[in-house]
Amino acid sequence: MEKILRDKKAILVFILPAIIAYTAVVFFPMCQSFYFTFFEGTPNVNFEFVGLQNYAKLFGDVNFKESFLTTMQYFFVTGGGWIVFGLIVALMLQYGLNHFSNAARTIIYLPVVIPGVAAAALFSKVLEVTPTYGLLNSLLDVMGLDSLIRGWTGDSATAMWMVCLVDLWKGIGYYTIIFYAGLINVPPEVEEAARIDGAGKLTTIWKIVLPLLKPVTIMCVVLAIMNSLKVYDMPLVLTDGGPGRVTTVLSIYMYKIAFTKWQYGYGSTIAIVMLVLTIVLTQVVMRLDRKENV
């Protein structure tokens, strides 16, 4: 009896610190955010209960709709790109290279190491047009493609694409490593057996390796969904949400509403929409997985 009691205490020592920290900085604030969505004004000053008005406001808010679509663009281009290129690069590392595999892996991971803000500062210089041409425009100039020269991050037609591409560049290595770890776990006998049966390399990968890789793929997709829906640092530092509002993703819109206009209630509502969006999308992916397994 005494031993069991002692064990119970031990278990608390293991789990309790995390639970306390978690409740304080995630669970409680999350509930409070939700509570705030029913109010407008500044807390303790003129905080007024407005019921569902903040949610109703979303539907008529053109800026919200625009931010939502911008986030979706980022989600599909960058989030999708991480998965597709991460997988292709990992496959090349595992099956395409006999030498240099370790070196290649390190090189591909390099962009992940650079701080997001530093990458933004770096690329704003690469993509610049004034006061002098940045690297990209200089290159276009040399190649005689003058018509393409532009302020890549200042032109509303290209700014969001630049944000997407720079973050795509920065993130591929992260997903490559996870996919690669998954590929190492594929038992070599499986490939061996397929090869003996006369399957070519591509067929083996397509028919044998990829299905075995599914749990890892699901994990990557879930991570990509979470990371792409909450994006803020690249569009904040590279373009500051502009020009106009073309790179104002949901996070930045929420940040500006809450911390420059000080509308906590409406800001919280946008945050809750992001939360619901993330949960719905990740749950859809996880359900898909379960259904196919039945």
Partner: protein
């Protein structure tokens, strides 16, 4: 045979392109840090000898770069140590002492992994702000602890440690218990040294996230003497007459710690990641 050679040529061409895309920005930023602003603007791609001058200007500038390095280092190191300790204890606890109730608790934790930080920011800002008038103001807004505390418990790390604990041999555990070792002693004396790869991978991820964190420090830290490196870099980039040699130097220095952590521990990194996808 010709086809095979073509395939191989294609492979290495592809590899070269990928490597170039990955490495070139690094190459350029290092080159840039050795040149004057005007040369960086002109797209000069050969190293100059202005690195020391850039460094001196950077350190002498009123942006407080050195101070921000110190702030970032304190935050990143403390966050990494504390977050790894809390999360590995929990990940281990959830896997070793399983029960229905604890499994349910874990799935709630896991679900909250989806919560974007934006959904927590306003209440956290208000909470830390409200500490300013109490004795707890040492951890209130505009202090380093206010940046550290919200990142201490991440569901991802707990999940990561739990996944890796699955491969921890349970018979060692039984043997240690027979020897009369307490649960905490087992954790620190046996589990911790065995799981070095897992800790290394978790340390890389946590240190990088903390070092690169931008949005929360931007909101929580208000006076120049408290700023972290990303805040200073973003301030340098948006100044009225940006000095590009100086910016490049700052970027190089900002990248050094994370690059160093990665290179020192990268051998363990893949091994650690491996444990989490099993």
């Amino acid at each position: 045979m010709g086809k095979k050679r073509l395939a191989r040529a294609f492979k290495y061409l592809w590899l070269t392109v990928v490597s170039f895309i990955s490495v070139f920005p690094f190459f350029w930023m290092i080159i840039g840090s050795t040149n004057r602003s005007i040369d960086v603007t002109r797209g000069k791609l050969t190293p100059g000898n202005y690195f020391m001058e850039n460094l001196n200007t950077l350190l002498a500038s009123d942006q407080g770069f050195l101070r921000s390095l110190l702030n970032s280092a304190v935050i990143a190191v403390l966050t990494t140590i504390l977050a790894l300790l809390i999360s590995s204890l929990a990940g281990y606890g959830f896997e070793i002492f399983r029960s229905k109730a604890r499994d349910r608790l874990f799935s709630v934790l896991l679900l909250s992994m989806m919560v974007p930080f934006s959904a927590l920011m306003i209440p956290l800002y208000r909470f830390f702000g409200s500490l300013g008038k109490t004795p707890l103001k040492i951890i209130g807004l505009n202090t380093l602890p206010s940046v550290i505390i919200p990142t201490l418990s991440t569901a991802f790390l707990i999940f990561f440690f739990r996944q890796n604990t699955k491969s921890f041999p349970k018979d060692i555990l039984e043997a240690a218990r027979m020897d009369g070792l307490g649960e905490l002693a087992i954790f620190f004396q046996i589990y911790f040294p065995t799981m070095k790869a897992t800790y290394a991978a978790a340390a890389i991820i946590t240190f990088m996230n903390s070092w690169n964190n931008y949005l929360w420090p931007l909101i929580a830290l208000q006076t120049p003497d408290k700023r972290t490196v990303p805040l200073v870099i973003s301030a340098l980039g948006t100044s009225y007459t940006p000095d590009y040699g100086l910016i490049m130097t700052a970027i190089v220095i900002a990248t050094l710690p994370t690059a160093l952590v990665f290179f020192v521990m990268q051998k363990h990194f893949v091994a650690g990641m491996l444990g989490s996808v099993k």
